[in-house]
Structures are given as C-alpha cells and as structure tokens.
C-alpha cells in the first residue's frame, strides 16, 4: 500500500465511519459511499425495539464516549444519533455520499495500483479511480436469507423476513410464528408478545445465552472480556506457553471453569424448563465453543420469563411444511398462525467485485479468510474493515482502522505474499478445528478478540498491555478490556513504541 492518496470506503456503518475518520485524520482524501439515505448502516434501518445488546461502555468509539445521559443499553435511535454526532465532531461529513450504491469494483486500467469504482446515485452512474478501496459493509448484504418450504403457495397468511418487521403493525392481533433463535428472532418474538394474540418461536437448535449479569450479580463483561477468560477458551491460533500449559496439565481447571459457568447460566435462565414436546432449551454444544458460533446473544432479562409463562411458546424443531392456515412442524405439531416471520438472517453478496477479485477470495462455505481479517495478498490496495466479529465490534473495527492507517503510512510492515497465505491457511485450519460452522465463520472472533487486538497492537508496535496504575497486573488478569482502554491508540496518540514482534 504505497502512495495512497484517495480512498473509497464502501458503507457508512460503524466500520466505514471509523475508517473514514481515521484516514481523514491521516490527511487522506476519502469518499464514503452509502446506499442508504442515512448513515449508520444497520443502526439507520432497524426495527422498533432494536438496540445495542452490550452495555454502552462496551459499545462506543474509544475516542468518542457515549453521552452520560444515554441508557445503559443504548436504543438504536439514540445510537444512530451518536453516530451522526461522531461524524460532526470529527468533521468528515463532507466525505459521505448518501444514497449512492457501488455497482462495480475493478482494478484500474490506467496502470496505477488501485481500483475503479462505479456508482449509481441520484446523479446517475459515475466512475472514479481510487488508490485504495475499503469494503466496510459488514458480513452480510441487503439480500435476505429466506428459506422456502413446501406448501407456501397455499398458505393464506403472510410470510415476512425480519427485515420487513420495522414496527409492531404486522404483528398486531395476529397469531405469529417466529423462525430462528438469534438476536432478531428474540427481539421480534419479544415485540410480538406485546401485541400479537399467540406467539410461537420455532428453532432447530438453541444456543447458550449470555445474561447481562451472570448469576444476577456479575456484569457479563467480567466473565467474557478479561485476559483470564480468554485464556480459558479453546486455544488461540498462536497461543502463549502459559495458555498451552493451562490447556495441557491444567485441563481439569478449564473444564471445571466452563461447567460451573454452564450450571450458573442454566439455573439463571432456567434453560431446563419444559417447552413443547417435552424438550428443553439446553444447548447441545459446550458453552466455550457454542458462544463462538452463529447465535450467541445477550438476552434481555425479561425474555425467559415470557417463555416460562407460556406467552411465547418455544418449539425446538423445524418447519416441515405450510398448510392453508398455518404450519406443520417436523415433530408433528400443527400451529394455526397467520403470520410467519423468518428471522433467518442475510446472504453475503459481493456482486460488485470483479470476477478475478471474487475468484481470489475463494468460494469457501464459511466465508473468505483474510490476513489479519483485513487483507488478501492477491488483492492489492483492497482492504476489508468490519469482517471480524467480536463482543465489542466497535472497538475491533476502530483498532482495524488504526492498523490500516499505520499500514498505509508504512509503519506496519506487511509480510510477503506466501507468508500471508500461510497465515490465512493457519487461521482457516484453526477455526475449522473447533468453531461451529457458520456461513461467516471466517469472521468470527468473539471472546478471542482480545488475542486479535494484541496482535494488531504488536504489528503497529504498541504495548498490548493497556491497563495502568498500581494494580495494573491484577487488572490485566481479571478486568475486562473495553474501548476506553484503547482511547489513545484510536486517537493516534500513544506513548513510546515497542519493538514489533
């Protein structure tokens, strides 16, 4: 990444905004293309009760704290306004081009490195050359993943994707079935419980919930975001000798740690409660692997009581077929419902990428893998920010943006092509060796994000130990890492550098 002057950023969600802010501060000319008419990505286009599932101190830009008056779990509308204020505070609104959709991305034909970006907006088609393109559109596209079922044609009710449930209106007074067990499914079932006649949830598999407070006492960040907790996870791709010892001779400690955690959550959320057909909500996979899969959510405390009271009927099975007035489940249960909401996620879509670029990224079913979750060695001057999912995405994306800025400035030395490909193969093998399958497994880090953040810090030449004060060593072990710990780094103002490893 040499001689980068003009940068195109696709997407004005969290990842796109933090990238633009970081690169503009570096003196680069940026253009942010956003297909929506408001900035914020998913935060500009949510359903009525959506909001951030992590507490606000975990979901804020490290160098732009959430207002003190904001609720502890930030509602979506307030969060979108926070993003607007972020853009104004760092004065890069002029870079953002709303209602402009990128339709084609091809290598420049003028012999310079970089990409030609074709867009379609209010002023029609336009083509521009950029030295660097950053794709910051998240994991999915705007193409809903809507599975089809036998008998749909004869069904007289409505079948909606969760993206079509922006308000409570489609659920009002109806018998509703929500398909799925992720965040959107829980949010919509929760909403339906307020206004619908009957509410059913249909899901194949359950996942371990992460309560906002473990045992009703300990905020989950203490159990999920400390170095000690990350050491107890299945070994990281590049683990330390201490972690290897812990998972070797110390295996009984690791085992008893997670089983105790499971017992606490099982009792707290009453996962053993009987649901339809005598089943329960206890997940099949152990906590430490399941939470790195697709469906981990921080559940609102009011959700499980609704299941217990029967306001929401849970069915641990699949839809077998539709009938004219409802659905038949695999376990034989017939549900009379006049509204089925498919909270079944989205498809990945990088249609605008040239054929060569898509071929380089590959066709792995669990998504494409990148060096440091950002670069592919065969796609020069193309970066992905936001393809690394963590508990605090906003922190991870902020650190990625800083890493990219340092790479552009030549202060991060990138390895050669073969070394990069070797690392990509290693991380692929590591994830596939233990992480549950998901169409975006390539992006999953979750509780391993701490290890990833440390790697980014070392690449840049920053001490990854960020805790300060008399009790810093104790805090390093037990205290959760959160955005505020990286304020100076994201602001580009850190202390004496260390030797990059």
């Amino acid at each position: 990444m040499k001689d980068v002057r003009r940068v195109a950023i696709i997407g004005a969600g969290i990842a796109g905004l933090v990238t633009a802010k970081t690169l503009v501060a570096q003196g680069l000319e940026c253009a942010v293309f956003e297909r929506g008419d408001r900035l914020g990505g998913v935060w500009a286009d949510g359903y009525s009760n959506f909001g951030v599932q992590a507490p606000k101190e975990l979901y804020e830009f490290p160098d732009w704290p959430m207002p003190k008056a904001a609720p502890h779990f930030t509602p979506g509308l307030i969060f979108q306004q926070y993003l607007e204020n972020y853009v104004d505070h760092f004065e890069f609104r002029s870079c953002i081009r709303l209602s402009v959709c990128v339709t084609r991305l091809e290598p420049r034909s003028d012999g310079n490195s970089g990409w030609t970006v074709t867009t379609n907006g209010n002023t029609g088609h336009r083509t521009e050359d950029f030295d660097l393109v950053v794709i910051a559109t998240g994991l999915y596209s705007d193409v809903p993943n809507k599975p089809s079922f036998p008998g749909e044609a004869e069904y007289r009710g409505v079948i909606l994707h969760n993206s079509e449930v922006k308000t409570r209106d489609p659920l009002q007074g109806r018998n509703v079935a929500v398909v799925g067990y992720g965040k959107s499914a829980v949010d919509i079932a929760f909403e339906a419980a307020e206004v619908a006649k009957d509410v059913h949830m249909v899901f194949r598999e359950t996942h371990w919930p992460v309560p906002r407070k473990v045992a009703g006492v300990l905020p989950f960040k203490w159990g999920a975001l400390s170095r000690m907790a990350s050491a107890f996870l299945p070994l990281y791709q590049r683990s330390t000798p201490v972690e290897r010892l812990l998972h070797g001779v110390g295996k009984p400690l690791v085992w008893v740690f997670w089983r105790t955690f499971e017992i606490i959550i099982r009792l707290q959320c009453r996962l053993g409660m009987k649901i339809a057909n005598g089943k329960n909500l206890v997940p099949a996979a152990p906590f430490e692997t399941d939470t790195n899969g697709e469906g981990t959510i921080v559940t609102p405390p009011e959700f499980y009581p609704l299941l217990q009271q029967g306001r929401i009927s849970a069915h641990r099975t699949e839809i077998a077929r539709f009938t004219h007035n409802g659905i038949v489940l695999q376990d034989g249960t017939e549900l009379e419902v006049d509204c089925v909401v498919l909270a079944t996620g989205w498809k990945s879509d990088f249609e605008y990428l040239s054929d060569d670029a898509r071929a380089a990224l590959g066709t792995d079913e669990d998504g494409f893998y990148l060096y440091r979750h950002m670069l592919h060695p065969d796609l020069a001057n193309l970066a992905f920010i936001g393809r690394a999912t963590a508990v605090s995405n906003i922190l991870t994306h902020s650190l990625q943006a800083r890493w990219l800025a340092e790479s552009i400035a030549g202060r991060v030395i990138l390895p050669e092509r073969n070394a990069m490909l070797g690392e990509i193969d290693e991380i692929k093998a590591w994830k596939r060796s233990w992480m549950p399958y998901s169409p975006v497994r390539s992006t999953r880090l979750f509780m391993h994000a701490q290890h990833y953040h440390d790697e980014l810090m070392r690449d840049i030449g920053i001490d990854p130990l960020r805790k300060r004060g008399l009790f810093a060593p104790l805090k390093e072990l037990l205290a959760p890492y959160q955005p505020a710990d990286y304020q100076a780094i994201v602001a580009g103002n850190w202390e004496t550098p260390i030797k990059p490893l």
Binding site: P252, L253, F257, A472
Partner: protein, 84 residues
Amino acid sequence: MALFLWIGSACGAILGLSHALYLYRQIAARCTTADAAGINRRGLYYAIWTFALWTIFGSYVLAFWLLGATVYALVRLILGQRAA
C-alpha cells in the same frame, strides 16, 4: 489442611516463578532503547505480581484442579459406561 495449604502454596510459587520469568522476558523483549529502564521496571513489577498471585492462590488453584480432575474423571467414566 495446613499441609495442603503448604503444598498448594509451594506448587503456586514454583509455577509463579516460571510464569514471572516468562512475563518479564516477554516485556523486556519488546523494550526499545527509548525507554529501556521504564519497561524493565514494568517487567519486574508484573513479574513480582505474578509470583505473588500464584503463591497466594496456589492452594485454591490446586483445590479446583483436584475437584475438576475428580469430577471430569467421574463424568468420563459414567458417560463411557453409558456409551458402552
């Protein structure tokens, strides 16, 4: 009980010393000439804390290790028998 505490603390001290040395070397390895003294002091401070924590909590770690090993073995035994 006193013997168990002594054994646990001794095990903790041995592990703690190894961990402390490892941590000190890691921090010192990152040291640049710009702030060598400061980073060495920091490495030493982290090493002392590490040694102290391991020694103080060594017996608790040993207790949990024994508990985990026992329950893990029992669970494996029961599940193994069921599978058989």
